[in-house]
Each structure stands twice: as structure tokens, then as C-alpha cells.
Symmetry: C2
Subunit: 236 residues, 2 copies
DNA sequence: TAGTGGTCTAGACCACGGG
DNA sequence: CCGTGGTCTAGACCACTAG
């Protein structure tokens, strides 16, 4: 494990365990250096990672402070993470509506960058305790995901890709707009036709930049909330 | 100007000027080092910045590639930037509905972290060529923004804070959900009651972590699209 | 196995904040 | 002014990719 990740994890643990809140002042950079015996750049690397994740913020000339206790956002879909649709919420059941192979993905998926070659088409509904949560229609390029079964698709496809195929999801883009539900969508989500919904088109890429998944998601407005964050040009 | 920012800007210029597309292979790290006479870490810092902004991606053992031509997203509201509501779209007019001082912000704003002290309340409508775009209801803490006038509020408040007050917006959080419009909102947006809308609560902080602005935005679903992106734990 | 990006260090110097 | 975080370098060594 890389040193900066070890340190980052330690700090996260520390914040969770002590239940620290926004504004709490963390140890200084040189204290972390001494405690762990790391170089300054390595400590800054760890802090930068946490800064990007929204956990802390650094103030030049002053110190390092807690921004958010991770785990305070359980109910939210985190748009700024490389996840399909659920953040920390694990009480989600999956109902598979369709799994088939296609010679070619639909045009809109190819326009978003999915290779124009054979793919899997997966249609699922995700259900929380309080009802249907999201309709998900995904296309997986067989170039990157050569095999999918009903069983895999009933669980987490991303976990399968990571663990069984040993591939890492590296980055994603999400395009959103608000729509009125069609009759069919409303039925799946147990809502009324013309009820509001958020539609998200997602594009996921592997470490080599290859696009392997393009999806269209339609969320139930009654039980879905979303979260996004940004930091100004932070690094080192 | 910092070296890594100079390099980052040069690369962006290069991509725009040559109109490069996703997958284009950029010069190697050591070529940038030699061309600019920079150290390796500095070059990596610049590339990391661009990676975080979604402009490029680095593939270990292979090279550096273009991910997106900046400026390909003009029509989208970029949720992953520290902007109020418009990304690159500059054809936006502002209609000020209200500007007043309050002893205390409303409860929900204080819960989001706005100091429980005097503030400005600003209500505005943003209008694009094709009609009303968003209703914006903002609260600015007088601790950070001691003075606002009608004139300032008719322009860009963020520009004013940056330029006149010399303060930097450092990070933000955005909480979203989909709603049905009330009668009043519908009238402002020239839509119908119960039409869909995206409501976003935004929290903005300065470089010292101080929260200075909490806002509630309600977007017109007919002319608003949103964009978000993420990268897996990138740094150095 | 050569080439390319990633991690890490030690240390010099810079820039900002607060007393 | 001192302390704290930020930038930058040179260079060693690691890890992954591709031919």
C-alpha cells in the first residue's frame, strides 16, 4: 500500500472515530511527518487526496481542518464518486428486467463514446425500503467486459469488473436533465405519468481510457437526493 | 504565476487551438520537462491539475491523452466547478427581485453552516435567450461580504467578491433533488404548476473555510442541463 | 526489456496568516 | 516576525505497458 494512502486512511479513521466536525483543527504537516516518519511531499499528497474528497481543507499559514465527517451523506447519491448510483446506501435490491447481447449499442451510446462493437444491454430497477429508486439501462462493451451473466447482473456489475476482471474504473462523466415520466417509466417507479424525474446519462472509463459502460438512469424524485462538491484547483 | 499553472494553461491552449479530441496522445512527461526546463514533479503537478479538471488522463506506462476539449460543454451547468450556476454560458441576463438585509438567515441556511449573524438576502432570476432559466435565492453573510448594492447584485456577485474584496472561493457543496413547481415558481419560470424542476442548495466557502454564501436554486427543466465528473483518487 | 508514468525523499525557498 | 502550508528541484527507485 502506498504511504500517502495509508496516511489518508488513518486520518479518515481518526475523524470518524472521534466524530470530528467541520472546523476541527488537525495536526500540522510537520507533526504528521514526524509521527509517521514520512517526507513532506508524501504528507501533502495524503492531505491533497482528502481535500479532493471533501474530507478536509488546508489553509496556508494556518493549518489543516475537517471539512466533513465522511458518512454524513448516507442518503445522498454522490455524483462526484465513481459509483453507479448508490453512495453509501447498501439497502438496495436489484430487479433485472432484461439482459441481452447486441451487435451494436444504440446510437446515443456510441455518440457518448461506447465502441461500435458487440455489447451487453442490461435493464434493471433498483429498489430501496421505501420503493423503487431508479430505472437503469446500461450498455457494456464486450471489448472490456467479455462476459456477463444473470447472476452477475443481479449483484454489483462494478464489483465484478474490479474483482473478477481486475480492471479499475478510472473516471466518469455524468450528463443530467430533468424530465417528465412516460407512462411506462411511471409504472416501474410506482409514480404517475408526467411526474418529475432526473435523467442521468453516465459514461465510465477504465484506467487506459477505454469506455466500457454507458448508462441512462431515471430516478424516482420522491426518494432520491444527490450530492456534488468541488474544490478550487487543489493539488501537490 | 506558478510554473505548474503556466504549463497547465499552455496545454489547454494547445488542445483548444489544435482542436484535439479524446484519445489524442500528448507529449511525454520528460518532453515537457525538457521543453520547459521544469522538474518532473512540476510537470506532474500540471498534468494532475488537468486530470482533475477532466481535460486529460494519464496512463501509467503508456502516456498522457486528451480526455475532453474544454469548451465542449458550453450548454451545461458544470456542477464540479466553483460557479454559481452558469458555466461558460455568458448570454445570461439578471433580474433582481429582492435585495434586503436580515438580522438572521433562515433556519435551513444556518443548518447548512451560514453564520447566525446579519446577512443579505438576494432573490434573482437568470434569463437566457430562450427564457427564464433559474430562480436564485441567496444569503450572504455580512461577516464575509459586508456590503452589497443593487448594482453589484445585478452583475456577478462572485466576481465582486473576488475582485473588489480580494477573496477566493475555495470549495462548495451542492445538494440536489427534483421537485414539482409551486404556482409562484412556475410563474417566474413561465411554466405550469407541478411541472418538474431541479432544486439545488449550494454552500460556498472561502479559502479560510468560512461559509459566506448559502443559496437555493430552482432550474427551468426546459432549458437547463447539468454536468458532473469524477476521477479516481488522482494526485501528485 | 525498454520506456513511461508514479512514489518518495531531503532540502531550499516562497507566500500567507496571526500574534 | 514566526509558524504553517505551497512550490520546486534532482534524483533514486517502483510499477505498469507495450513491443
Amino acid at each position: 500500500m502506498k504511504k500517502y494512502k495509508i496516511l489518508a486512511n488513518e486520518i479518515i479513521e481518526f475523524i470518524i472515530e472521534k466524530n470530528l466536525k467541520r472546523g476541527y483543527k488537525l495536526p500540522k504537516v510537520n507533526e504528521f511527518q514526524q509521527t509517521f516518519g514520512y517526507g513532506k511531499s508524501t504528507v501533502l499528497q495524503a492531505l491533497t487526496l482528502l481535500d479532493q474528497q471533501g474530507i478536509i481543507y488546508k489553509v496556508q499559514g494556518s493549518g489543516v481542518f475537517v471539512r466533513r465527517n465522511p458518512g454524513d451523506l448516507k442518503e445522498y447519491v454522490a455524483l462526484t464518486e465513481n459509483l453507479g448510483f448508490y453512495s453509501n446506501n447498501q439497502n438496495v435490491k436489484t430487479r433485472v428486467l432484461k439482459l441481452e447481447e447486441l451487435r451494436l449499442p444504440p446510437k446515443w451510446a456510441v455518440e457518448k463514446g461506447l465502441p461500435a462493437s458487440p455489447c451487453y444491454s442490461v435493464k434493471r430497477i433498483r429498489i430501496k425500503e421505501d420503493g423503487p429508486f431508479v430505472i437503469e439501462h446500461s450498455y457494456y462493451s464486450q471489448q472490456s467486459v467479455p462476459y456477463l451473466s444473470r447472476e452477475i447482473v443481479e449483484g454489483s456489475i462494478f464489483s465484478y469488473i474490479r474483482q473478477a476482471l481486475g480492471k479499475d474504473i478510472r473516471f466518469s462523466e455524468k450528463y443530467m436533465h430533468v424530465v417528465k415520466l412516460t407512462d411506462e417509466q411511471a409504472e416501474f417507479l410506482q409514480l404517475e405519468e408526467n411526474d418529475p424525474a432526473l435523467e442521468i446519462k453516465e459514461v465510465f472509463s477504465l484506467s487506459d481510457g477505454q469506455i466500457f459502460d454507458v448508462s441512462r438512469l431515471v430516478y424516482n424524485y420522491k426518494n432520491s437526493k444527490f450530492f456534488s462538491q468541488s474544490s478550487d484547483e487543489i493539488l501537490s
